[in-house]
């Protein structure tokens, strides 16, 4: 028994000694990529695709774990409190790092300080749509209608403080109108009500809407990004239409717990860059309407900071409960 104990102790000590130099031969065991979203959606596709190809480069499998709940806070808090050794990483986004920590005091982590950022990966475009029943055919007409009287135009979102909510808020603030916010539990019910003409408009994730756009039941007015979406190449951006720059796509990246060694971050970043260079990965993502949105570590950090500034500014003026 004593002997067993001492062997155990020795192993523990040895492994502690290894920690210091481990970064060089990282990774030596499978890496868990924590996905805050349920299996099946765009986020899951992005996570599984990059995990597979990162694993090939790193020589160790990257395993996707879906830990859903509390508007991504469950997953983010889990990664924030994990060991900073590069074996637990997060599928990051505005909700995990900016929106949820600002809105939910119980989130239990700081979206910026508790994380080391690796790289931005992909982005799902948000598109401004109206129903063909609405009679509106251009963003100018929509803006005009919105300006005619407060709350004339209603817009759907996927929840208070969600990106579709904040993007519409940004739009109404920039044109100086007041629009009526109608929150939904997800894109699906919001789509039904826009199609049926019960709600006028909304900035929603493009992929699930494409079928309705192609059938002519929904009219896309603009893409809320600085670049056009590969899924809807004919739809102009907000900037092209003269409504200013919007970088309000639903972006996804990878982050790790704060304190993760810089060379581990560099290895992960290189593996992500290599995966995104692969034509197979590009095809798989673009086929589902996801655009490549790669940003290396320093670019990603700058991007998060500016994203946080925009989003937090919007949250403050949004009147969403819990916003400080």
């Amino acid at each position: 028994m004593k002997k067993l104990l001492s062997i155990g102790l020795a192993t523990l000590l040895a492994s502690a000694g290894v920690t210091a130099v481990q970064a060089q031969d990282y990774p030596t065991r499978p890496i868990a990529l924590i996905n805050p979203y349920a299996a099946g959606g765009s986020a899951d596709l992005i996570a599984r695709t990059i995990a597979e190809y990162m694993g090939r480069t790193l020589g160790q499998p990257v395993v996707v774990e879906n830990r859903t709940g509390a508007a991504t806070a469950i997953a983010a808090a889990y990664v924030a409190h994990a060991a900073p050794d590069g074996y637990t990483i997060l599928l990051a986004g505005s909700p995990t790092h900016v929106i949820t920590p600002a809105l939910n005091p119980a989130a239990g982590y700081n979206g910026i300080d508790d994380f080391a950022f690796v790289s931005a990966v992909a982005s799902v475009p948000n598109v401004l749509v109206v129903s063909k029943e609405s009679g509106i055919t251009s963003i100018d007409e929509l803006a005009e209608k919105a300006l005619s009287a407060p709350d004339t135009v209603s817009y759907a979102s996927v929840g208070s403080g969600s990106l579709p909510h904040l993007t519409a808020l940004m739009f109404s603030q920039r044109i100086g109108a007041q629009m009526l916010h109608i929150p939904y539990a997800g894109v699906a019910p919001a789509t039904v009500d826009i199609l049926a003409g019960n709600v006028d408009t909304g900035f929603l994730n493009a992929p699930p809407l494409v079928a309705h756009i192609q059938s002519g039941d929904m009219i896309p007015l603009a893409v809320a990004a600085t670049k056009r979406a590969s899924l809807l190449p004919d739809v102009q951006t907000m900037g092209e239409l003269g409504y200013g720059d919007y970088e309000m796509g639903t972006w996804y990246g990878v982050s790790a717990p704060a304190g993760t060694p810089a060379d581990v971050i560099a290895k992960l970043d290189a593996a992500i860059a290599e995966a995104l260079d692969n034509p197979e990965v590009q095809e798989r993502l673009q086929q589902s309407g996801v655009d490549i949105f790669y940003k290396s570590t320093p670019e990603f950090i700058d991007f998060i900071k500016s994203d946080a500034e925009t989003v937090l500014g919007l949250i403050e003026t949004s009147g969403v409960e819990g916003a400080q």
């Binding site: 349920a38 299996a39 099946g40 959606g41 765009s42 899951d44 596709l45 599984r48 774990e65 879906n66 830990r67 859903t68 709940g69 509390a70 508007a71 806070a73 469950i74 808090a77 809105l103 939910n104 005091p105 119980a106 989130a107 239990g108 709350d151 209603s154 929840g159 208070s160 403080g161 009526l180 109608i182 929150p183 939904y184 539990a185 997800g186 699906a188 019910p189 789509t191 039904v192 009500d193 199609l195 049926a196 019960n198 709600v199 992929p207 699930p208 494409v210 079928a211 309705h212 192609q214 059938s215 039941d217 086929q287 589902s288 309407g289 969403v320 409960e321 819990g322």
Partner: protein, 508 residues
């Protein structure tokens, strides 16, 4: 004629070897995860999703869908035998299924459930073949005002479904409604009654409540009960499983009514199969000559919700495929699986992908046949579960419940929640408070609140939206009539002095 060409096309695809094989694979997995309490189809589908990346998209969908509807067949097994619902949709089946099993008619109940599941599923598939394109237009007519009225109707008709005191039932509905308020308010984003607990910000887990109140409570209350061997294995003969002629006859209409209710509710993307089962049960209790039999092993109370459940699940594919609008998390998941394969369900899906759509629909029916063939012989096996001594069976059940609840979100909190509701359910049983109304209130409450708020947002605060929209107005009238009729019957009985308030309201 076009329809027949399409159906032929579908069967041609669905009868190919790979489709048959994976259909069988899917429904078999489905049956088993359905039987295991707590372990839902969602977990199984999520596990199988990565495999499907390498499959033909039609075959992939056939398999994933098979897991989904297969689970509905298995889910009633544990409800009937052990009073532990396999999935939330079969919680209502506990009400009369378990009393049937206690009367030694477990085999009969399981047999009837399998047959009605098959009939309910098959009728829904036929409806699907005929009406899928029309459903898209139908579903678009339903918005928050209509959904609110459906939920209100459901709540009013089903509030007194549990046997025993109607007052206690109503109290439990209110408890359910109260539990439903926990979590993030959908309109404002405010946290309600979360007490700073992060895990509560999505509300209490429905599965934890269902498994706790029905399953764990049953296990706890069995402590100290006579633990002798309950059933001798020799008694489980095939003959004892066959229902009598009277039982068969009594099941025909409930099965058809249940199927109808299920298909209607299932075709609406915002309602869900659980609501359908409650409404089907309530409808049977309403039309029955002697409602007091319910809760004591009435066969109608078993077959109607099960038919509704299976037909709702099949019908739920209609809005998902024709509109691209998933009704619940599982449908959203299947939709996601299709999108991963580059297929976008929606108005063009039927036209652009006829082989896939009709192949899928045809495979549903083949899958239902597989399920029938698979489940009938399994009844004998399942009934033998009752021959396992409780001291072995119940800890095993508890183990599966905990694993199942944990597997949904990988959260220990949910395991604690299921145990908490287990103790709560135990205390409720002891004081004669029925658990089913809690579930009803909990499922309907948050949806009603959300739709009510949204309807008023849309109308800019005017209540007239509820009677200005035609479908909503019709539902409102039905709800009011139901309410007035029940009040009237109670008042009449009490006035004439024939019965006390308690007795009169028992028949609601």
């Amino acid at each position: 004629m076009d329809l027949f060409t399409n159906i032929a096309l579908g069967f041609e695809r669905a009868l190919s070897l790979d489709a048959l094989l994976f259909c069988f694979f899917g429904v078999t997995i489905g049956t088993f995860v359905g039987v295991l309490p707590g372990v839902g189809a969602m977990a199984a589908v999520a596990l199988c999703l990565p495999i499907t990346f390498y499959m033909d998209p039609t075959v992939a969908l056939i398999m994933l869908a098979g897991i989904f509807y297969g689970a509905q067949y298995g889910s009633s097994t544990a409800s009937i035998l052990l009073n532990v619902p396999g999935t939330v949709t079969s919680a209502v089946t506990c009400l009369d299924g378990y009393p049937m099993a206690q009367q030694g008619k477990a085999g009969v109940a399981l047999f009837m459930v399998t047959i009605t599941s098959f009939i309910g599923g098959s009728i829904a598939i036929v409806l699907m073949m005929l009406f899928t394109p029309a459903v898209a237009a139908f579903a678009l007519k339903f918005s928050s005002a209509e959904y609110f009225m459906i939920m209100a109707l459901g709540l009013i008709t089903a509030a007194t479904i549990a046997p025993g005191s109607p007052l206690k039932s109503l109290i439990m509905v209110v408890v359910g409604l109260a539990l439903g308020t926990v979590g993030t308010d959908s309109a404002s984003g405010a946290m309600r009654f979360t007490f700073g607990i992060l895990e509560l910000s999505d509300g209490v887990s429905l599965v934890a409540i269902a498994m706790g109140l029905f399953g764990v409570a049953e296990i706890i209350s069995s402590i100290g009960r006579d633990s002798g061997t309950p059933i001798d294995a020799k008694h489980v003969t095939f003959k004892s499983m066959l229902p009598s002629k009277a039982e068969l006859k009594a099941s025909v209409m409930p099965t058809l009514r249940g199927t109808g209710i299920g298909a209607l509710i299932g075709a609406l993307p915002g309602a869900g199969a659980t609501v359908a089962t409650f409404m089907a049960y309530a409808a049977e209790k309403k039309v029955a000559k002697d409602p007091s039999r319910f809760g004591k092993g009435a066969i109608e109370g078993v077959v109607a919700p099960e038919a509704a459940n299976n037909s709702a699940v099949q019908a739920a594919f209609m809005p998902t495929l024709s509109l691209g609008i998933p009704g619940d998390a599982l449908m959203a998941f299947l939709l996601g699986a299709m999108m991963i394969h580059g297929i976008v369900p929606g108005p063009r899906f039927l036209v652009d992908q006829p082989v896939m759509f009709w192949g899928l629909v045809a495979s549903f029916w083949i899958g239902n046949v597989f399920l029938l063939i698979l489940n009938i012989p399994l009844i004998g096996v399942w009934v033998r579960i009752l021959t396992i001594p409780y001291k072995v069976l119940y800890p095993t059940m508890l183990f599966f419940i905990c694993i199942g609840v944990f597997a949904i979100n990988f959260q220990v909190f949910d395991v604690i929640a299921v145990l908490f509701f287990g103790f709560m359910g135990f205390i409720m049983i002891k004081f004669g408070y029925p658990p089913a109304p809690i579930l009803l209130g909990f499922v309907l409450g948050p949806m009603m609140e959300e739709h009510f708020g949204r309807a008023l947002l849309m109308s800019r605060g005017s209540f007239s939206i509820f009677w200005e929209r035609p479908i909503s107005a019709v539902l409102l009238v039905i709800t009011l009539v139901m309410l007035i009729l029940s009040a009237k019957s109670v008042i009449q009985h009490v006035r004439s002095g024939t019965r006390k308030v308690e007795e009169a309201s028992l028949e609601l």
